[in-house]
């Protein structure tokens, strides 16, 4: 299908549509959060709402974009520079041309902020408890930030004179300018975090002593800052062989001593590349990186590798050092040996095997080693070391992040080994969450707390790309004398950034950035707090579509505040709610059990797709069903199957059905013969309702939407018949497309029973029609139903194709 054809189809639609009045969309509150977010958002280890900030940047709403980033990343400027951007790896735009340059976008909005933002205010009342964080690297700072926002008093202990940990010592200024680093940490500290620099735990203050100062929990985020040794002959005695991390630390502290002229770096991670590029900047004549595997297995970021090669650094693969050659104490070079690759090891990479007799000499007057990092254990009292360590790293419970020392948690590189900044931030969040739960409940995080019961969703990508632009790559500055340590990577211009953000295909559901909530003048939103986290996270909630009207702008020339362009599926939109000025309403998005009516038959537990229902027994009541709020996704299948009426559907009062009927029948108990509506019972995904036009035979069409038609009961269908509906169409997704797995099957059972009952009441079984659609119908079809004007047109044109965008 050519792009032109698609565009013209959309255009013809919007032309045809100009005569339409704004349709009523009958819709129950729909929590969008129930489905998995866009791939980029899923990919971010720290959980940054990537789609949201990219969308906001596309509308030049930079401050709001930055606010979205800060919800999950307190160091946006840093991440915007050094993050390996896992989001870009999964970006759907790759299928069109190249991924959206998400990292560059983030950097732009972080730099765009000229004034420091308002200090964030804690969202929970000041708590009694206080927490000590050891280490001010990205993991420690993130955890401290989260904990401070949760109301705890947080003190960060840092052994160096400036905070930042590996951000400061491991990453050089040409990648991460110091003033950006300082500014970001300063901004972060405005969340009432005390940082004590120059206080080395284990030297200035014992860990035990620290905990005796009255902290209720401690987080060890000390990083892994000791370089591993090569383990080859002659290494120890030679001054010319140095740990690359130590070298970087010196350089980043301002030591500009030239390291030598022929530099050899051993290793393939980012530390190796970083050290090599720094050595080059300090005047080295040649810098070689020796790596014992293939290029494809380099751990450093591909962009960094490319930049290093552009600067003249040579990579030599499948080489490993065998011996340090010295002349007295003077380094002469390395005796190296070539390797081949054998069977895959535990990491899945093929194990290097030395090739006998392939020794050769590499001359060098300086060797920098970057072959792995370990935790510097000096801070730990000797008696605790065996208890807390595992293979040179701190050992924690993988779920709770607590060490075997009660109340002492650990996170970051010290636990995982060397990793990226974004991984450290992710660990910081988790540690803060775990500590917060530990302090509130006296227990730590459980595995089930981490469970993410989101439903995967199939989304459609637009047939045409909204913007045909190519990916904007930041320019790299060439290495110039005197400017060795100024930032290499250039910044995108504002126009480039907006164009780049518009390349986003906006896949997946609504991003739920929640930026709309405070600014929504018409109060068209509902926010629901998810029940069980005790308000620990600020603004945690779900956007709900609410009944009401939506002013859907279908002209592509008028991007409204919500950016309601035609290429965005209406289900991605924010919908709308009660009258202007009404407060935001909070509704539970889960089914309930009316205990007194539950007979304990467990049919609901059998049918629940989320295992949210368990059978329990209380002191005062016999066995009954209980719905776990955290797991219930509000599909209402339980309400459909419940034989006793004990399961009450999501967000709906028991009178919901009657109110729907009143809408359909204009409040008449039995419809008058001249005004019998044709009723469509439809899946909320707006599927297939177009069929109504084929069956309604001129009756007024009314649509009742279900979260899932699996909620259907025989009584509902008979009730419609009793009250005088001229016919009923049940429409939903085909079984395999049902997001709840079995909705269509359950509904089909009920319809089958109804069809056997109808003749007993003197009614044709065809009174109930079914349309299981394999396609997801979009709003225009609903308009067809809602707007009677068009019904006839659909019948004449009869091709549903015409009505799809």
């Amino acid at each position: 299908m050519s792009a032109v054809a698609n565009v013209s189809r959309a255009a013809s639609y919007s032309l045809a549509d100009t005569s339409l009045v704004v349709p009523e969309i009958q819709s129950e509150p729909l929590p969008i959060r129930l489905v998995q977010p866009a791939p980029c958002t899923q990919a971010c280890p720290a959980g940054i709402n990537v789609k949201a900030y990219v969308s906001l940047i596309a509308e030049s709403r930079y401050d709001e974009a930055l606010a979205v980033i800060r919800q999950r990343c307190p160091l946006p400027g840093i991440c915007g520079r050094v993050c390996p951007a896992p989001c870009e790896l999964v970006c759907e735009r790759r299928a069109v041309d190249a991924p959206v340059a998400i990292r560059a976008l983030k950097r732009f909005v972080a730099d765009y902020e000229t004034e420091a933002p308002e200090p964030p205010s804690p969202f929970r009342k000041k708590a009694e408890e206080s927490v000590a964080v050891v280490g001010s690297g990205p993991a420690g700072l993130t955890a401290a930030y989260d904990l401070a926002l949760a109301g705890y008093r947080v003190t960060v202990y840092e052994s160096e004179n400036h905070p930042g940990g590996m951000l400061r010592h491991g990453i050089t200024a040409y990648r991460l300018p110091r003033k950006i680093l300082d500014r970001e940490i300063e901004t972060l500290c405005r969340a009432q975090i005390e940082i004590r620099t120059g206080c080395r735990i284990g030297v200035d203050l014992d860990l035990e002593e620290l905990l005796e100062r009255g902290y209720d929990a401690a987080l060890l985020a000390v990083g892994a800052q000791l370089g591993r040794h090569l383990g080859v002959e002659g290494e120890e005695k030679c001054a010319g062989v140095e740990d690359a991390l130590a070298f970087l630390g010196r350089v980043n502290n301002g030591d500009r001593t030239p390291p030598g002229s022929r530099i050899v770096v051993i290793g393939g991670g980012s530390t190796a590349v970083e050290a090599a590029r720094s050595a080059l900047r300090l005047g080295a004549q040649s810098v070689d990186i020796l790596y014992r595997r293939y290029r494809e297995e380099l751990l450093a970021d591909p962009e960094e590798i490319a930049a290093a090669e552009a600067e003249g650094i040579a990579f030599r693969f499948l080489v490993t050092p065998a011996r340090v050659i010295t002349d007295g104490s003077q380094l002469q070079g390395l005796e190296c040996v070539r390797v081949g690759l054998g069977e895959p090891d535990s990491s899945g990479r093929r194990r290097p095997i030395e090739i006998p007799g392939s020794q050769f000499m590499v001359e060098a007057d300086r060797v920098l080693t970057a072959v792995g990092q370990e935790v510097d254990l000096d801070f730990l009292p000797a008696e605790f070391q065996p208890r807390l360590l595992d293979k040179g790293l701190l050992s924690t419970d993988s779920t709770t992040l607590m060490t075997s020392w009660h109340g002492v948690f650990a996170a970051g590189d010290a636990v995982s080994g060397p990793a990226t900044v974004i991984d450290a931030i992710a660990q910081g969040h988790r540690a803060a969450d775990a500590i917060s739960r530990f302090l509130i409940h006296g227990r730590s995080l459980r595995a089930e707390d981490l469970r993410e019961p989101c439903m995967p969703v199939e989304y459609e990508l637009p047939d045409t790309s909204p913007i045909e632009a190519m990916r904007a790559e930041p320019k790299l500055r060439a290495l110039k004398p005197g400017r060795e340590f100024t930032e290499v990577e250039g910044r995108l211009s504002e126009s480039e950034v907006v164009a780049e953000a518009r390349r986003c295909l906006r896949c997946g559901p609504c991003a739920e950035c929640r930026i709309c909530a405070p600014s929504c003048r018409r109060r068209h939103l509902m926010i629901q707090r998810s029940g069980n986290n005790g308000g620990q996270r600020n603004g945690e909630g779900v956007l709900l579509r609410t009944p009401g009207t939506i002013a859907l702008s279908l002209s592509s020339k008028q991007p409204t505040r919500g950016r309601l362009l035609p290429e965005i599926r209406p289900r991605n939109l924010l919908e709308i709610g009660p009258q202007e000025g009404e407060p935001i309403e909070i509704l539970p998005v889960r089914a309930r059990i009316h205990k007194a009516l539950c007979r304990g038959c467990a049919l609901c537990a059998d049918v629940c797709p989320f295992d949210a229902i368990t059978m329990v027994m209380d002191e005062d009541s016999p066995e009954h069903a209980r719905i776990e709020a955290a797991l219930c996704r509000g599909c209402n299948l339980c309400a459909g199957i419940c034989p006793t009426g004990a399961a009450i559907p999501t967000a709906l009062s028991p009178e919901w059905w009657n109110s729907k009927l009143d809408d359909c029948f204009d409040g008449e108990l039995i419809a008058e013969e001249s005004d019998q509506p044709y009723v469509v019972l439809a899946c909320q995904r707006r599927v297939g309702a177009a069929g109504a036009a084929l069956y309604s035979k001129g009756s007024r069409v009314e649509v009742i939407r279900f979260r899932c038609v699996g909620q259907l009961q025989v009584g509902m269908l008979l009730d419609l018949q009793r009250r005088g509906a001229s016919g009923v169409l049940v429409t939903g997704c085909q079984n395999e497309r049902c997001r709840f797995g079995r909705g269509a099957r359950l509904a089909a059972d009920q319809i089958e029973i109804t069809r056997t009952i109808l003749p007993l009441l003197g009614v044709d079984p065809d009174y109930v029609q079914v349309d299981w659609s394999s396609e997801r119908r979009t709003d225009p079809i609903d308009r067809v139903i809602d707007n009677r004007v068009l019904t006839d047109r659909v019948l004449t044109e009869s091709s549903r194709e015409t009505w799809q965008i």
Binding site: A602, Q713, I753, T756, P759
Partner: protein
Amino acid sequence: MADLAQIRRSTGAALCLECGKCSTMCPLAEIADFSAARVMSMQDPEAELHGHADAIQRCLTCAACEERCPQGVRYTDFVRSLRPELPAKVRDPSPHGEVFQIAATPRNGHSTDWDWLEADDGLCVAQEGEVALFVGCLPLFDAYFGPQLEVETVEIARAAIRLLNRLGIEPVLIHEECCCGHDLLWRGDTDAFETLAKHNLAAFEARGIQHILTVCAECCRTWRTDYPEFSGAYQPRVEHLSEFLAARLDRDELSFRWSSNGAVTYQDPCRLGRQLGVFDPPRELLRAVPGSELTEMKRSGRDALCCGTAGFIRCDAASRQLQTERLASAAATGASKLLTACPKCLIHFHCAQQEDHRRQRQPVAIEVEDLTVFLSGALEDPGPPTTVEPPGAQQGGDPS
């Protein structure tokens, strides 16, 4: 608001001494926080009805309490009179999505589907005559419960016709009949009930029916006790099939062949037993089946325990407990079959058994069967009058 004082007087609730004897019989009072006396002590309906809403809806209306009441209070009538007064807000939904109440509501068309009748071409029904069989909701139950529970309620109607045919009677079936309205009446939808009652009465009167037989305890009670209010001069005789058949036993018009059931036991439906006083006819019929020995459960006759739900009005944990208890006490008699004269008892017991089965609990090992179906199955083979001799008789030796 109807006059509470009037209700209290007319049902005898005003005479309540709060002695608590009702609670000693009440199956709910044993297992739940339920007290009939507490409801009757209500003085100000405006203020108190709300608080008693649960108790009013929960009552099984099994009338066990009335057996013990020294003052003769008709508590079931009292509760039934209060139910229409309950505000919609406090009304609990009825089980099965209210499908039976909704299906019972009178509609414009009533051409009932009679395919079930044609499924057995040996059955004879008449177009005209004095005796009619009221089929009621049996086909509806079949359609609704058939796929879930292994019950075939419409077979009860076929069995009834088979039994009547054997007596030489071809019953009239009235195609215009609707549900008797029992469930609507007991849930408090008195207006809808009245419409149904008048519709059914008119349909039967128009065909000149003077004798109506039912195979459902609830239909029987409704036709006999609740319809006369609307029937005016038309006063047909209403009988449960078991009464009609039992009366024929003495006249030797009906005989059964030997059947190897061993012990069977009988569940008295509340409507048929305590409310209509029909205890003996079903038992007489069972005793007339050679090879089947009637054993009584611990609570039987006037003391019988309800099957847990009356009229699909409320089903909850207490219902399940009563069903389980009742099945267990039936099994404790050593009987192989539990027979009942009400299709709803049949459905409820099947439901409880199937539930146990589904939840991998050991279901109570007893077969639940409808009395009419059982009797029809025990009929002697028609045709040449060759009586099958019981094995015992054969062993005794035939001198010829």
